[in-house]
């Protein structure tokens, strides 16, 4: 994916948004499939970011004679409203759709086909906690796990060298066992180059909330409040994960180690090329985005080191089959094909999403895989080692919205010095109900 492609798809998304805003869609019923086993000519799959399915789509076509059309949206924030529109009106969704962890609990499982009759008993093939999240409270299996987002830090070798820092990935990892040490490195980097080490506090906060884990914005039964619906009773106002993240942000602001660019903004996208920052938080799926933003001319300049402060999971998805599909059997077959051991290894090699299939994680090809773009970093080994240790954290139906639309804007204002920490935290809490209620 190139930068221009990102831009174009964003423009397309905005254009779509404006068109749809003018005429609200009219709901229509769908009669459902006449023959669930019918063989389609084309299957459509909706994804966001980069799932690494190009090669697998061709393979599926060769094996089965069924063409697979990938409709990819660059950003989750644009993808979600589109998917809701499809599901709400019962029209337009792909035969297979991707559901991210921040939105999977947002949809009534009734929207999706029960996959059990098509895939059988495959539970033991996957990480246990991950597989369970694809099962509805009534026991219906509606989502097959794709990936998890094990954490790492992507850094620029050439910029580290200029700053007189070590460049070897093991030595870099040894530089920052803790976040305090990471901030020290940031100060050194600032002193040596006058530039910022990290892109923004929000990426570090995103990692920090999942490292602390437990309750973040919701209780285990998906409530925003503990007790009466008042501001001081918000889970977000009291959770340790949120407090840790804000403490980290404050330390980073004090150390002045960030470039203060908003994630996904043009400045951020360009920063990968121009070197306005030398490191960013890299959940495994982020490697594909770093590569896309930096472009082929910077191949070999990036590498991956361990994350400060221990492992954690950020992001990850499931594949589901909406009930509106005409070909549930083949759609389920495709979803299974993309998420079995072979599919997950291939997707990982193409774009970096980390397998959740135990066989894929044990696969020698996966473990030996080195990413040429990242200076031949053994990404299979780096991310694979931590993945089995990931502890599940509590997300809620709109975890992603609360993080991106309430916490991050407030944190950016604090980072830029427009608000004090107290003011910023207050704005964040004011936004939580609007973004978090469901």
């Amino acid at each position: 994916m190139s930068v221009t492609k990102h831009r174009v798809s964003r423009v397309a998304a905005v254009a779509l948004v404006s068109t749809v805003a003018l005429g609200t869609a009219v709901a229509c019923g769908n009669d459902g499939p006449t023959d669930p086993g019918a063989k389609p000519e084309v299957l459509v799959i909706d994804t966001f970011g980069d799932f690494g399915y190009e090669g697998l789509a061709k393979e599926f076509e060769q094996q089965n004679g069924v063409k697979v059309e990938i409709r990819n949206t660059a950003q989750l924030g644009d993808y979600t409203p589109q998917l809701v529109r499809y599901l709400a009106t019962g029209e337009g969704a792909g035969d297979v759709v991707a559901l991210e962890e921040g939105i999977i609990t947002r949809f009534n499982p009734g929207n999706f086909v029960d996959l059990r009759p098509y895939v059988g008993n495959i539970d033991s093939e996957y990480l246990e906690w991950k597989f369970k999240l694809g099962i509805a409270p009534n026991g219906k299996l509606f989502g097959l796990p794709t990936d998890v987002g094990s954490l790492g830090v992507c850094y620029r070798i050439d910029l580290f060298q200029e700053a007189g820092l070590p460049t070897d990935r093991d030595e870099v990892s040894a530089l920052w066992p803790t976040w305090e040490k990471f901030i020290e490195v940031g100060k050194q980097y600032r002193q040596a180059t006058g530039k910022a080490l990290l892109d923004s506090v929000t990426t570090a906060m995103g990692a920090r909330i999942v490292q602390t884990g437990g309750e973040i914005f919701y209780t285990a039964d998906y409530q925003l409040y503990k007790g009466a619906p008042e501001k001081e009773n918000l889970v977000a106002a009291n959770s340790k994960a949120v407090k840790d993240a804000w403490d980290l942000a404050a330390a980073m602001v004090e150390g002045d180690i960030t470039a203060k660019v908003a994630t996904w903004s043009p400045e951020w996208t360009e920063g990968f090329k121009t070197g306005t920052f030398a490191a960013t938080l890299c959940p495994s799926w982020m490697t594909g985005i770093v590569e896309g933003n930096s472009g082929p001319e910077n191949s070999g300049k990036w590498d991956i080191a361990a994350v400060p402060g221990g492992g954690g999971n950020w992001g990850g998805s499931w594949l589901a089959v909406p009930t509106t599909t005409k070909y549930p059997e083949w759609a389920a077959k495709l979803a299974r094909f993309l998420t079995d051991a072979h599919g997950q290894v291939e997707a990982f090699k193409e774009a970096g999403p980390l397998p959740t299939n135990l066989e894929a994680l044990a696969n020698p090809e996966f473990q030996a895989y080195t990413n040429p773009y990242f200076n031949n970093a053994p990404t299979g080994k780096i991310f694979g080692e931590t993945v089995t240790k990931i502890e599940p954290v509590i997300y809620g139906p709109r975890h992603a919205d609360v993080r991106e639309r309430a916490m991050e804007p407030a944190a950016r204002l604090f980072e830029q010095g427009q608000l004090t920490r107290e003011q910023a935290f207050d704005q964040f809490l004011n936004d939580v109900p609007l973004q978090g209620q469901y």
Binding site: A15, V17, T24, V84, L87, W264, P266, L413, Q427
Partner: protein, 325 residues
């Protein structure tokens, strides 16, 4: 009427009486019904794409409506609660302030500039008239997203605007931050003006061209100079056109959406981290299409916008009619 009393044609005299009566009936039908048939297509299209969504939205505004799961959890009737909620929702009033702020900041210079351009294009001895008239419409023919992205680049920290301001010793201004509301409003208003000034100038020019030349001749004979001619002849005669232009601007300005969305990176409809340029249309969208569960509230906001636009248009109509006297 002329049609029915027309002298009978030779061929008609040969026809038997019933056939003749039929053609009379047909003529009558043609006269009474055809006009309605001619305008019917518009009303059919309007009913489907205009009236139906409007009243559907009104219906939704009385419900607690979750768009994502409405097929499984039926919406609940809550009467006027959505409208009451609007009254003490600080984000709603913030959006209202932004909408009017950008609207005024964009529209006043825009109409003044359009009037000036139109007056210049209306000068009798201007060379290359057609070229200029077409050229000023060009920004309007450009896609709004393309304009948005170019302006976004121009208003960057290191963009051309800050460079130009630097030449005269101002700046650099953080158009996405430091200046707060004003920096966002100015940037978005500039974008709107870039697209619409030429369009409005062309409509005003059309109005000017329709003013009879002899009025100017008489004025000239009476000794009126160009300035006096403009205020005493052109401006009063232009009033209906001006009314049209300003109502179109109100309708468009109060529904402003795409420009601010792109200016704030198109990623959220928040309009900046502090909602600096979130318009009513964006806040409506945030509730209906981002939060989904607030679709009923979003519908209520749509209706508040509708009423607002009608009120503003009527106010504008009265204002312009009064200055006419």
């Amino acid at each position: 009427m002329a049609l029915t009393t027309a002298p009978p044609q030779p061929s008609q005299t040969e026809q038997p009486a019933p056939a003749r009566r039929r053609s009379v009936l047909l003529n009558k039908f043609d006269l009474k019904v055809s006009p309605y048939l001619y305008i019917l297509p518009f009303f059919v299209v309007f009913a489907i794409f205009g009236a139906y969504p409007m009243f559907r939205t009104l219906y939704m505004s009385f419900y607690d409506w979750d768009l994502a799961n409405a097929r499984f959890d039926p919406p609940v009737f809550i009467g006027l609660d959505n409208y009451v909620r609007m009254l003490d929702d600080p984000y709603y009033w913030n959006a209202m302030r932004n909408t009017f702020g950008v609207f005024l900041l964009a529209t006043i210079p825009q109409l003044a500039l359009a009037l000036l351009i139109a007056a210049m294009l209306n000068r009798p001895f201007l060379r290359g008239k057609t070229f200029f008239r077409m050229a000023i419409l060009l920004p309007n023919a450009t896609s709004v997203t393309a304009v948005g992205i170019i302006f976004l680049t121009m208003f960057k920290d290191t963009g051309v605007i800050n460079w130009a301001l630097g030449l005269v010793g101002i700046g650099p201004i953080d158009w996405h931050g430091d200046g707060g509301f004003w920096s966002y409003w100015t940037a978005v208003a500039t974008m709107v003006d870039w697209r619409w000034t030429g369009y409005n100038a062309l409509i005003l020019l059309a109005g000017m061209l329709a003013i009879p030349r002899d009025l100017y001749e008489s004025a000239a004979i009476d000794g009126a100079g160009a300035w006096r001619q403009f205020w005493s002849v052109t401006f009063p005669m232009l009033r209906p056109t001006f009314l049209f232009v300003s109502i179109v601007s109100i309708v468009g300005g109060l529904q402003l959406f795409t420009e601010p969305v792109i200016y704030t990176y198109g990623y959220t409809v928040r309009g900046g981290d502090r909602r600096e340029v979130q318009t009513l249309a964006m806040y409506m969208y945030e509730n209906s299409m981002v939060s989904f569960n607030n679709a009923g509230y979003g519908a209520a906001i749509s209706w508040s916008m509708f009423l607002l636009i009608i009120m503003a248009s009527i106010g504008n109509f009265l204002l312009i009619r009064r200055t006419a006297r």
